[in-house]
């Protein structure tokens, strides 16, 4: 059975702190790993990682994938209250035109002023 495990499940920090969110996976036919931010409704896309060791960066957020150890981390530096959300990790496993996205349970991040 495909598994995506995120840790921690919840995290409370103060503005300005740096956080690291973890995602480990066991899936067949791994294709890519995705990070999403979910606030009130729809998950919004952050990063897609396909190759090991290549950091993706967007402003204060960055992420990297380790395909040997089967995990990824999402870093957020200088956190702001607007970063408060659930951060979802998902893995695409696919073969041909088949496609399946398996999500982790998410990490609830709360950033206090």
């Amino acid at each position: 059975e495909d598994k995506v495990v995120q840790s921690p499940l919840s995290l409370v920090v103060h503005e300005g702190d740096t956080v690291t969110l973890n995602c480990s996976y066991e899936v067949t036919n791994f294709r890519s790993l995705l990070w999403y931010k979910q606030e009130k409704k729809a998950p919004t896309f952050l990063f897609m990682l396909t190759s090991s060791g290549i950091e993706k960066k967007s402003g204060r957020l960055s992420s990297i994938l380790d395909k040997k150890e089967l995990f990824s981390i999402l870093n957020i530096t200088a956190t702001q209250t607007g970063d408060s959300a659930i951060y979802l990790c998902a893995v695409i496993n696919s073969g041909g035109s088949n496609y399946k996205l398996t999500f982790g349970k998410g990490t609830l991040l709360t950033v206090n002023p």
């Binding site: 890519s32 999403y36 729809a42 035109s97 496609y99 999500f103 998410g106």
Partner: protein, 113 residues
């Protein structure tokens, strides 16, 4: 920026009734998906759809569920004979290529009474 739209935003239905959830994917996208998220739980893959047929489905997507692309713009999820445990947020997503990130709609909250 183009977006995925879902209607209705909230649907309340009596147990045993049929519901149809509607989605308008991004216009040039070819791959369509449905996910559900039971309150407090993780996002779960239901089905992916390409070239007018299902390309992958999860064990959740049993005979009670069906999907259809009745015209060039809509993508629907039908749930026959709804059960209490079908209460969840249902997200539609679309992508322009297999294995890329999906763009999610804001979801339909389905409440079964």
């Amino acid at each position: 920026e183009p977006e995925v739209t879902q209607t209705p935003s909230h649907q309340v239905t009596q147990m045993g009734q049929e519901v149809i959830l509607r989605c308008v994917p991004i216009s040039n996208h070819l791959y369509f998906y449905w996910y559900r998220q039971i309150l407090g739980q993780k996002v779960e893959f239901l089905v992916s759809f390409y070239n007018n047929e299902i390309s992958e489905k999860s064990e959740i997507f049993d005979d009670q569920f069906s999907v259809e692309r009745p015209d060039g713009s809509n993508f629907t999820l039908k749930i026959r004979s709804t059960k209490l445990e079908d209460s969840a947020m249902y997200f539609c997503a679309s992508s322009d290529w297999v294995g890329t990130e999906g763009h999610f709609g804001d979801g339909t909250r389905l409440s079964i009474l």
